[in-house]
Subunit: 146 residues, 2 copies
Amino acid sequence: MNRQSHTTRTSRALPIALLRARETVMAPIRDMLQGIQLTEQKWRILRVLDEMGEVEQSTIANEACLLLPSLTRILRTMESDGQISRRQGSTDKRRTMVKITNEGRQILEENLATSLAIHNTIEAQMGQEKIDNLLDLLEELQAVKV
Amino acid sequence: MNRQSHTTRTSRALPIALLRARETVMAPIRDMLQGIQLTEQKWRILRVLDEMGEVEQSTIANEACLLLPSLTRILRTMESDGQISRRQGSTDKRRTMVKITNEGRQILEENLATSLAIHNTIEAQMGQEKIDNLLDLLEELQAVKV
DNA sequence: ACAATTTACTAAACATGTTAAGTAGTAAAG
DNA sequence: CTTTACTACTTAACATGTTTAGTAAATTGT
């Protein structure tokens, strides 16, 4: 049945290609995160919060690619673990404003070196130009309207 | 805190960039799949099986980026739904050999047009050259040793 | 001002992701 | 030939993904 009958080869299908590439990049990052009791999602949330300051949950969901129901649960544990803090929005009381705590920021700082080392390993093998090129294309793809 | 203090902007971090790009591509595909009662994972499995013929579960897991425990559960329901069939390996009895059924293949055929249309929409906006370039870079990234 | 709609989130239910542990079959080492 | 290690899964437990439904606050239309 090895005949590519009616579909593109999966290696040339964007969804699977993106997923496989991501698995390669995430493998060592997951190793790092396991050592500090943090999931991939919590790591993304901390990075988004560090980058954006105090934001509402919908913004985190968009930036970190999480659905709100997942975020609700994850932030609950992150708050009780002291990595983030939450407060009700002052003007719009539907909103919940979230920011990273010093403890959360410290986790980022402590793992910056490892995170950079992983990126450098990849860059050393592919070359900086290709990585930049790839990131440009990914940003462009992300902006496509479907 | 909007100061990119000690990490790369998340939009230039490979893991998040790959995830966001994938969300863009997957959104319309998920819509298609919802109409045919198929999850994204089952769709990937069918495509891998159609492409590779009868293979063992570990191979599916690798190609479709699923862990074996997830695959065990998913294949159980796909078998009872008649989309795939399983048998014990003849020489090595630890292996479970899996192949797509006619019913499974029919699901692929019925949705080929939609799947292609989605791809074409993206291609029309980004251009074929960029898509090809992106796929090449993704394949290269996937092959990196980390 | 009031009803209808929309927005931002939460709750619940079920599927999948992820890790750890267990089982049976196979291969390797002595 | 037997013990040991390894491989290909399966099971279980808990976190997250995903959909549907619900709630409260804000906005819109009249």
